[in-house]
């Protein structure tokens, strides 16, 4: 009994910091609809700033003052980010802002490294709260008890702010109906800035308040990000009580998981999330999103047409140039081009379902890595020849997509995205955990192409044919009745259903199709690298693809591969410098601000202005 109570208290104490960070993310999403990937970075900043302040400010007052100040300082940093980075792109297509926040992550990572150095910092202990209290003979740290006491207080203060003050009422109104608040004459941009301040301050507070339980290190931004997203989604995006309840559920379950199923640490929270979302597709306290037929911001998407003769000639010329790489370039040029081609196909497959279907997936790496693992497992355990493995890779990935898509498509919008993330993470932990078969994170090695394709040149041509073929196939699919039906389901599900289109099924097929195409890329990948590791299933890989699709331009047909090619090439160049993350982050932010329609969208505009392309009807 004593142990049970002590475990419960541990869970409740852990929920504290998690709730603060999650409530901040939830608030920001609720009001601004921005999925703030950089939220973990603000949490990390809170820890570092708090650490520094605690070195300066002495005693008990200094300790708590440092935590409070850390929150305020991080909030102000958030304001700077909001004004400089996000404000210029509010009118961009939905979710485009997450690309900007991704750039912010990179910038903050390098700046933190510059300022505080690489070494992990052990957080100072709270003055006066260093010991334990014996409860039923079980030791419970005093600081844990302090956290358990503080968290409801923070939650209550937030609740009061949101439900009892005028500002709070505006915030709540904005979560319900943004346009209406604008119509009421409230300056929407300052409301957004204020909410961003509050959200980031909460993240900073969470980072500072956990210092006595841990410390500050450079990996904590990504480490907390997934848990925070899970909490927010389980609670329901935008719901504070939901975030609190979910933080408690996750933390407490985790404590018991650690004790009774020690191996469960990787998957537990994702399993909980999947279960919750299956029964409550919008989280415990969330409401259905009003992402709607009329909710699209930005310019309407243009009708698509197969490329004209001029563009076709241009593409053909480009392909000829690509084909000449082995003649003109070095061996490394072939390797780099192979890498880029594979990534382009991966990005294009995501772009197909995101651009044509409006299905934003945060877990597309499941199918890229899935395809890679299918091929690698076949080679390792069945001595399958490369050719067959490459055919079976997309089949395996497609099958996985059929199953995962069936569950995920019960939800929509951000919840759909989070479900895909959860499944990618489940697949990742399966591969990671099941070391006997998959090699765990030691991966599967020595998976090389058949003899005829083992030279870099031949493999490059193989990749060229398959990837360009795949991208053209995706492109053709967009012009086919299937692609049109998919777009119809996205443009107006109401009308599509009323003309006999089973919208969920068409999205399901598209999901599986995109998964299979990603699987082709994965199959090629494993033979080009000779090995595969769980990294290929990681969230970071999914985000890579997502970022390039947005950078390339969602509302264009070529956004996926153009974004992929530019991003990979730029990254290959930038990583040669010491502070490449800073440079890449700033570059991403720059592209987001200067070209909110993505690279292709902006190039198209340029092309129209100089008369190379025919202008859109609404611009004439």
């Amino acid at each position: 009994m004593g142990l049970f109570l002590a475990q419960l208290l541990t869970g409740l104490a852990n929920a504290g910091a998690l709730f603060m960070v999650a409530s901040g993310l939830s608030l920001i999403f609720g009001v601004t609809r921005i999925v703030n990937f950089a939220h973990g970075s603000f949490y990390m900043l809170g820890a570092y700033v708090g650490y520094t302040l605690m070195q300066v400010l002495p005693g008990m007052v200094g300790f708590w003052g440092a935590i409070l100040l850390a929150g305020i300082i991080v909030g102000l940093i958030g304001v700077i980010v909001e004004i400089c980075v996000l404000r210029p792109v509010y009118s961009a297509p939905e979710l485009f802002q997450l690309v900007a926040t991704f750039g912010v992550i990179l910038v903050i990572q390098d700046l933190t490294l510059m300022i505080w150095g690489a070494e992990d910092l052990l957080g100072p202990r709270a003055p006066g709260l260093k010991g334990v209290v014996r409860i039923l003979d079980e030791p419970v740290p005093q600081y844990d008890l302090a956290l358990i006491a503080i968290t409801p207080f923070v939650a209550f203060a937030l609740w009061y702010l949101i439900s009892k003050t005028r500002v709070g009422i505006l915030v709540r109104a904005a979560t319900q109906d943004r346009e209406m608040v604008g119509a009421l004459g409230v300056n929407q941009s300052w409301l957004f800035t204020g909410v961003f301040f509050l959200g980031c301050a909460l993240a900073g507070l969470g980072g500072a308040v956990q210092l006595p339980k841990g410390g500050a290190d450079l990996l904590m931004d990504f480490n907390i990000l997934t848990s925070v997203f899970v909490v927010v989604v389980i609670g329901g995006m935008g719901s504070l009580p939901g975030a609190y309840l979910a933080a408690v559920i996750i933390s407490v379950l985790n404590v018991f998981g650690v004790s009774y199923m020690p191996q469960s640490t990787l998957v537990l929270m994702f399993v909980v999330m999947v279960v919750v979302l299956i029964f409550r597709p919008f989280g415990l306290f969330g409401k259905e999103e009003v992402a709607g037929e009329h909710g699209q911001v930005g310019e309407p998407e243009r009708p698509i047409k197969p490329a004209g003769l001029r563009v076709r000639m241009l593409v053909l010329a480009g392909l000829v140039l690509l084909g000449l790489i082995p003649v003109l370039g070095s061996n490394f040029a072939e390797v780099l081009a192979t890498d880029i081609l594979i990534f382009c196909l991966f990005a294009a497959s995501l772009h197909f379902m995101l651009g044509q279907g409006g299905l934003v997936s945060f877990g597309h790496a499941a199918f890229f890595g899935g395809g890679a693992y299918v091929a690698a497992l076949l080679v390792t355990y069945a001595d399958t020849p490369m050719e067959l493995a490459m055919v079976l890779a997309p089949l395996g990935a497609g099958l996985a997509a059929v199953v995962i898509g069936w569950v995920c498509l019960r939800s929509t919008g951000v919840y759909f995205a989070m479900l895909t993330l959860a499944f990618a993470q489940l697949l990742w932990s399966l591969v990671f955990q099941w070391g006997d078969i998959t090699g765990g994170d030691d991966g599967l090695v020595n998976i090389w192409p058949s003899a005829w394709a083992s030279s870099n040149t031949v493999f490059f041509y193989l990749a060229l044919v398959i990837c360009v073929g795949g991208i053209l196939l995706l492109r053709h699919a967009a012009h086919s009745p299937f692609g049109y039906a998919l777009r119809a389901a996205r443009d107006s599900a109401r009308q599509a259903e009323a003309m006999g289109i089973h919208t969920k099924r068409i999205q399901w097929v598209a999901f599986a199709f995109a998964g299979a195409m990603a699987g082709i890329a994965g199959g090629l990948f494993v033979f080009s690298k000779g090995s595969v590791f769980p990294n290929e299933l990681e969230i970071a890989r999914s985000f890579d693809a997502l970022i390039v699709v947005f950078l390339g331009g969602v509302k264009t047909l070529s956004g996926g591969w153009v974004g992929g090619a530019s991003f990979e090439a730029v990254k290959d160049y930038l990583t040669r410098f010491e502070y490449w993350r800073l440079a890449l982050g700033l570059l991403i932010i720059g592209v987001v601000i200067l070209a909110p329609e993505g690279i292709v969208g902006s190039l198209r505009k340029l092309g129209e202005r100089i008369g190379f392309l025919n202008a859109a009807e609404d611009k004439r």
């Binding site: 490294l113 070391g435 410098f577």
Partner: protein, 405 residues
């Protein structure tokens, strides 16, 4: 290519592929070594490692380099991504003119490069990765490893553990391949030495996401006599703090793999645990009797104005090993270097090590000692240096472990 700040890089972009010729004007073209590491993602570990390499290079080149040519490392960041590392390896070997590859801390990246090395027939010296697979199950003739592997270090601790009365053991290790290997090796060796031991709990926190309060409670619940710890970095810091607060370590011996390395012990400050039996690097304790160890520590502190880490030593030894191999080979041809590495003896700060012919594993050992607090910092006392050669399985077993041969 030298590491540059981004601004300088932009200015010098045109000279990207260039080296720094002025520094090596002495004689002939430099011999280039491709060094791939996670300089950003694991900065705390990679920076001392790099400084160790640079120190060794300065010494080697001051004495005329290798084969009359200066030795040069090309440092590249792979972001901790195996696929990226493969691409960079290709570039280093085919475009930048590197004669062999070295580097990586993370085992998975090391394994990826090892696989590439075997396929392309390039020599790769895995300096830091600990995974047993690098030289055993995934070993190949072109891949060599410097550091004592997980198995070797775990065996050293198991040997120490077998001498005590403790019977009931609990383990805590990060939930990934290194942690699993480390626990498996410890169990295997300890059970062999002392068949009546019992493992009463196995805790597997996710790497760098430990829920230390819960883990400590779970360990306490199992009431073990002793604990075997494999966590490191921030996980270790949290585990130690919660364990101390809740009294987990009272009356129990803890065996900590790598826990005595400065990388992990220093951040703990005055909260460093006392009385743990650990592998690590007691650089602060070297005196004139320790000869080359002392010389290295002094030289390192002179050069960089900071204290060495275990990574510094490994980096230094990696550069020394490569220089020795090329000198022995008498050429920069891959096959010659590979052949030279087989059975290569190298004089290092920790004494002579040998790259075994049987599995390409170096016999570098580890320092084993007990932790204590001195002047508010954790240190190792009563340490000894154990030669790695004594903690490897028999030759027959090793042969079985290398399926590729």
């Amino acid at each position: 290519m030298q590491r540059k700040t981004f601004l300088r890089g932009l200015i010098g972009a045109a000279l990207l592929a260039g080296t720094s010729p002025a520094a090596f004007a002495q004689s002939g073209e430099p011999i280039k070594i491709g060094e791939i590491n996670h300089y950003k993602r694991m900065a705390a570990f990679a920076e001392p490692y790099k400084k160790g390499i640079e120190l060794a290079l300065e010494e080697i080149n001051a004495e005329g380099g290798v084969l009359g040519r200066p030795l040069e490392f090309i440092f590249r960041d792979d972001q901790g991504d195996p696929g990226e590392a493969i691409k960079i390896a290709e570039e280093l070997m085919t475009r930048d003119g590197a004669v062999m590859l070295t580097g990586t801390i993370l085992s998975n990246v090391g394994l990826a490069i090892a696989s590439l090395a075997g396929e392309k027939k390039w020599v790769y010296l895995a300096a830091e990765p600990l995974a047993d697979a690098v030289t055993w199950s995934a070993g190949n003739p072109y891949t060599f490893r410097l550091r004592a592997s997980t198995y070797m270090q775990a065996a050293m601790l198991a040997e120490a553990a077998a001498k005590t009365d403790a019977v009931k053991y609990a383990t805590i290790a990060p939930n990934y391949a290194y942690g699993k290997d480390a626990v498996a090796a410890f169990k295997e060796v300890l059970t062999k030495l002392k068949p009546d031991v019992e493992f009463v709990a196995e805790q597997w926190p996710a790497l760098f996401k430990i829920d230390s309060g819960a883990e400590v409670q779970a360990l306490e619940r199992a009431k073990p006599d002793a604990i075997y710890n494999v966590t490191f970095g921030t996980d270790l810091a949290k585990f130690v703090r919660d364990g101390n607060t809740r009294g987990l370590f009272q009356g129990r011996t803890v065996y900590g793999l790598l826990s005595g390395e400065p990388e992990y012990l220093e951040p703990l400050g005055d909260e460093a645990p006392e009385g743990w039996v650990v592998t690590g690097y007691p650089w602060y304790d070297f005196n004139e009797d320790d000869g080359a160890n002392k010389t290295f520590v002094d030289a390192y502190q002179d050069r960089w104005g900071e204290t060495p880490k275990i990574g510094s030593l490994v980096g230094y030894m990696a550069a020394e090993s490569i220089a020795a191999a090329i000198a022995k080979a008498g050429s920069t041809e891959t096959e010659a270097i590979r052949a030279a590495f087989e059975g290569l003896p190298v004089e290092t700060p920790v004494g002579q090590i040998t790259y075994r012919e049987i599995d390409n594993q170096a016999t570098m050992g580890a320092f084993v000692g007990t932790t204590a607090l001195q002047d508010g910092a954790g240190v190792m006392v009563d340490w000894t240096y154990l030669d790695g050669a004594d903690y490897l399985p028999s030759d027959e077993e090793v042969k079985k472990l290398r399926p590729s041969e």
